[in-house]
């Protein structure tokens, strides 16, 4: 199966659970499981070639100019991680089906889970670091959804936010690091980067790139000091914890370090940063885990500790440490996922996760006891389980490591961490399952149905099998993965046996186990000491930092955007004037090449109207209605001027936009004060006036200077004029530009228009659902109202106008491709025709006769435009390439068809829907009870004197 398909399958499949949940929870779970299973099968098909050491690739140039290619590769490392992600994903899907309760939206859960799974698979299969970043960010986002899945719990929301903030900011740092790395090498393809170790490590940018990339990896893998988000993410449902925090998300950072190991590792900087961080994390996590009473928190900190262990091994930079790291990744994924699921079962069956309230469950839940104990003993590192093997290898490696000339520091601290690790593992077993049976469990515990324990049981079988016969079971896999990690160099000698003889590592293991038992025995005493110690609370610090940042950004925003529009305007205008002056005083200007045309009398009249109306607006601008009338004059003259200057399309658009705007403003003015208050001092007004006069004169001079000269460079107009009919099939160049040459812009604009209308609708909904509603209902009109709300004359006139206006709209629409017109203008005209009905007979009357929702009109418009654009793909041409031809049907004259017409239909519908939805929403503010009436007009002579026939009937 192509690598594209493996990476895309979870994303494609993510749709199904959300849809199939209506068919029941089993359908949703099966859809998710089947998707994962298919992707897994696709992966397994590649086993032979991966095991031969080949690298499977799939290449596709996405945005080659940015160096962003959708290149995928599958080598040993990617294979191991993809295998873990998909296999454990499958088990989690099974487990979650039985874990989630009836109230939880399960379709949503599986959709999020599959999105996350796809993002993870994408990370491990990417052969392009930019693509990897895209998937990396996707994991942050989808894990946010998963961690915050129980939206009703504040802990869940806060944990999700914290995880997103920490991993997201780490991701930002990583983007910078990756860009530096790509710049050093000159390519963003991993396979190229991995070949350039010498070049990268010699570069002066090596250290910044290293630190930035490691920030990304450390935040994701919860390394000290970013480890705090992981325990808070435990507010997620247990399946999520088991998946994200054992096998996948937190391993992404490790994956990245392993992936970059060939080129980044081997330097002192790498060793001291990575190994030290890993060591601290390992020790800190293990110590904290021992004193956590929440079962999942214990496991969370133990995860932190084990991630630290693996990080440390990768940080050592030796090949044999890399083998140990890979081996421990496999082992940790198996036993930790099983432990999380066990914790989930205990929580599910007893109703609590608090270790203080548990104990003595071994007879009540024998199956869970067996599974949990084996997994925990593996975590403690007892033979013959798999955790023992990789821990031995780790301890063996630490013995050979010196840290700043000290031979004892690393092994000593590692031993201490192993000791605490053994202690909390023993505590997990003894405080949950051992001890006396209690009477005060919140519910009556018993073993869960097979669906819940099957997944952890399978994992535990693996734990035992890998421990007993690792060489045969995972030996070849580890060999392939490690050779991928160390960059195809020769593998070092290592042995996966249980018994290595009496080595230092064995003595250390014995000490750790005995010490662990000893610590467990002393746990009560230790806990008192621990609780008495002052220690920083990560959540408090994190929230303080976030609060401070929020205050800072709010301060900056408030200082820059204080809400005074005239202030923004003056800053903008003054800056522009300054810029213009700078350009004028330093630049050069060509000689005048044109002569002014003689001024005609009528255009001068128009000019006087424009200037007069503008001055009038300045004078009367505090009277809002009056300034609206004066703006009407400006709009009118501008549209006539467009006509006069040979731009009939613009003129038509201008006049229709003018009407719609006016209606919109009148609707709003109804709720606004009639007068604008004086709020700036006289001095400030004079200053503003001076600046605006300068700006106006400057703009005028600039326009005059431009119009007196020919263009310095050939314009694009020539191209449009030459190709409009030939390429676009239309003689109206403006329309061809809109639907063809710049069709993509138009497509974007109708979407924006639709979004704007929907936002107006949403704002209206939310405002009207608050107490503003009562204020609106009690509002008094600005002045006394006349009696007629739906006058007869107006109703009759608008009814007569309606078909005419619609006809004009259709006419303007159809001829738009060759003559002035088009979908945009037609949409406005039809909208105005509708609005006339709203005005004449009232909102309620009109809306009752409205058969379709405007939301749908917008949606159809965008869809039709999109479908037209996509249609070009099927003819192997770029998006939105239009086509046209001529048809001759006998009774009709020959006429032209163009796909642009279909696109224009989309524009028409979107504009119509957007205008109507916006005005419809605004007019709902004025709703009053009793406004609705059954008749279209208040006074109807027909109603007063019934037709003669009826009178006769009554008489009869």
């Amino acid at each position: 199966m192509s690598l594209f398909l493996i990476a895309a399958l979870p994303f494609l499949g993510a749709v199904f659970p959300a849809l199939l949940i209506r068919a029941g929870r089993n359908a949703a779970a099966s859809a998710a499981g089947l998707t994962t299973f298919l992707a897994l099968m696709g992966l397994l098909i590649h086993i032979p070639s991966v095991m031969r050491g080949d690298v499977v690739t799939a290449r596709f140039d996405w945005i080659p100019r940015l160096g962003l290619n959708a290149n995928f590769m599958l080598d040993g490392l990617g294979f191991l991680f993809a295998l873990l992600i998909l296999v454990i994903g499958l088990l989690i899907i099974l487990y979650a089906r039985f874990y989630l309760s009836r109230e939880d939206p399960m379709g949503q859960f599986y959709t999020y889970l599959l999105l996350f799974q796809g993002a993870m698979v994408g990370i491990v299969l990417s052969d392009n670091i930019l693509l990897l970043i895209v998937f990396w960010e996707l994991t942050s986002l989808s894990s946010f959804l998963l961690i915050g899945y129980w939206k009703h719990l504040p802990d869940g929301r806060q944990g999700a936010r914290m995880a997103l903030a920490v991993t997201g900011s780490g991701g930002l740092a990583m983007i910078a690091g990756m860009l530096i790395l790509g710049n050093i090498v000159g390519s963003y393809d991993l396979s190229v980067i991995l070949q350039n170790k010498a070049l990268i490590q010699a570069s002066p940018y090596y250290l910044p790139a290293l630190i930035l990339i490691l920030l990304g990896a450390f935040t994701k893998s919860a390394q000290f000091p970013f480890h705090f988000w992981l325990p808070h993410a435990m507010a997620a449902p247990t399946p999520v914890s088991a998946y994200l925090h054992s096998a996948t998300m937190v391993k992404a950072g490790l994956f990245l370090m392993a992936r970059m190991w060939p080129v980044l590792a081997g330097t002192d900087a790498w060793f001291y940063i990575v190994a030290t961080t890993g060591l601290i994390t390992m020790l800190l996590g293990a110590v904290i885990a021992l004193f956590k009473d929440d079962l999942k928190a214990l496991l969370a900190f133990s995860t932190v500790s084990h991630l630290g262990l693996i990080t440390m091994l990768l940080g050592f930079g030796t090949k044999i440490a890399a083998v140990a790291a890979i081996f421990h990744i496999i082992n940790h994924a198996t036993f930790k996922a099983a432990l999380f699921m066990t914790a989930g079962i205990v929580d599910h069956e007893t109703g609590t996760r608090n270790l203080k309230r548990l104990g003595g469950l071994r007879h009540l839940m024998p199956i869970t006891f067996t599974i949990g104990t084996i997994a925990a003993l593996s975590m403690a590192g007892l033979p013959p389980l798999n955790g023992f093997l990789s821990k031995e290898m780790m301890l063996e490696e630490t013995v050979h490591t010196t840290w700043l000339h000290s031979h004892y520091l690393v092994p000593g601290l590692a031993l201490l961490a192993a000791l605490f690790s053994a202690a909390y593992s023993f505590r997990f077993v003894s405080h949950v399952f051992l001890g006396a049976q209690r009477e005060d469990y919140p519910t009556h515990p018993h073993d869960p149905p097979v669906g819940l324990w099957l997944a952890p049981a399978l994992l535990v079988v693996l734990v035992v099998l890998i421990g007993l016969n690792s060489a045969a079971l995972v030996g070849p896999l580890i060999a392939v993965v490690t050779s991928a990690v160390i960059g195809g160099e020769k593998l070092p000698y290592y042995s996966l046996k249980l018994w290595h003889g009496f080595t230092p590592a064995l003595y250390m293991s014995v000490v750790a186990t005995l010490g662990g038992l000893f610590l467990l025995a002393l746990h009560k005493r230790g806990e008192q000491v621990w609780n008495a110690l002052p220690r920083p609370e990560a959540k408090v610090i994190f929230e303080a930092i976030i609060d401070a940042l929020t205050r800072l950004s709010r301060w900056i925003t408030d200082e820059m955007h204080n809400g005074v529009l005239s202030r923004y305007a003056i800053i903008f205008v003054a800056f522009t004037v300054g810029l213009g002056y700078y350009a004028y005083s330093t630049g050069t200007i060509g000689v005048e090449t044109r002569v002014p045309l003689p001024a005609q009398i009528i255009p001068i009249i128009g000019w006087i109207c424009l200037v007069g109306a503008t001055l009038g607006i300045m004078w009367f601008h505090r009277n809002r209605l009056l300034s609206l009338v004066l703006i009407g004059v400006v709009g009118l003259i501008v549209s006539v001027a467009f006509n006069y200057l040979s731009a009939p399309d613009l003129a038509l658009t201008q006049i229709s936009v003018e009407v719609v705007t006016m209606i919109l403003l009148l609707l709003s003015l109804n709720f606004l004060p009639t007068e604008t208050p004086w709020d700036s001092s006289a001095a400030r007004r004079w200053r503003d006036a001076a600046i605006s006069v300068i700006a106006g004169l400057g703009t005028g001079a600039l326009v005059y200077a431009m119009m007196m000269r020919d263009f310095a460079f050939p314009t694009i107009s020539e191209f449009h004029l030459a190709n409009s009919y030939k390429g676009g099939g239309g003689t109206n160049v403006v329309n061809v530009i809109l639907v063809d040459f710049r069709g993509f812009d138009t497509f974007g604009e109708i979407i924006v228009l639709g979004i704007a209308a929907l936002i107006i609708f949403a704002l209206t909904e939310s405002v009207l659902s608050t107490n503003v509603r009562s204020y609106l209902l009690n509002r008094k009109p600005h002045w006394p109202q006349s009696g007629d709300s739906h006058p007869l004359m107006m109703v009759v006139a608008t009814r007569v106008m309606m078909p005419i206006a619609l006809m004009v709209g259709a006419y303007i629409f159809f001829r738009g491709h060759n003559q002035p017109g088009g979908g945009f203008i037609a949409g406005l005209i039809v909208a105005i025709a509708y609005l006339m009905q709203y005005m004449a007979s009232g909102y309620t009357w009109a809306i009752e006769r409205q058969r379709f929702y405007y939301h749908g009109t917008i949606g159809w418009g965008v869809l039709i435009a999109a479908a037209t654009g996509l249609g070009a793909w099927f003819n192997e041409r770029p998006f939105l390439t239009s086509d046209f031809g001529y048809l001759h049907w006998p009774p009709l004259e020959e006429f032209e068809w163009a796909t642009a017409m279909l696109f224009d239909t989309g524009v028409f519908l979107a504009v119509l829907g957007a205008v109507m939805l916006a005005l419809d929403s605004l007019s709902r503010f004025a709703w009053q009870p009793g406004m609705a009436q059954e008749f279209p007009m208040d006074i109807n002579p027909l109603r007063d004197s019934p037709p003669e026939q009826e009178q006769e009937k009554e008489q009869a």
Partner: protein
Amino acid sequence: MIEYAIYFAFACFGAAIMMCLWRIITADGVGTRVLALDTMVINTIALMILYGLSKGTEIFFEAAMIIAMLGFVSTVAYARFMLRGNIIE
């Protein structure tokens, strides 16, 4: 001959527009101003038709028609606003 007629008409309607502007700026109250604006719209329609006649083109006809159709809507909206406050009840 038609040219002189057109020029004469241009002069008349041009003067009418100036008068409308005068009323819009100086009149008392909004009602008169809206009426003046409406008259101004009608005068500009006439100007556009005249311009089309003098150039011998039909291209301005539609624009004039649409202004005629839509200009009426804004006047109605103003009237409703002044009478009722709320233009869509």
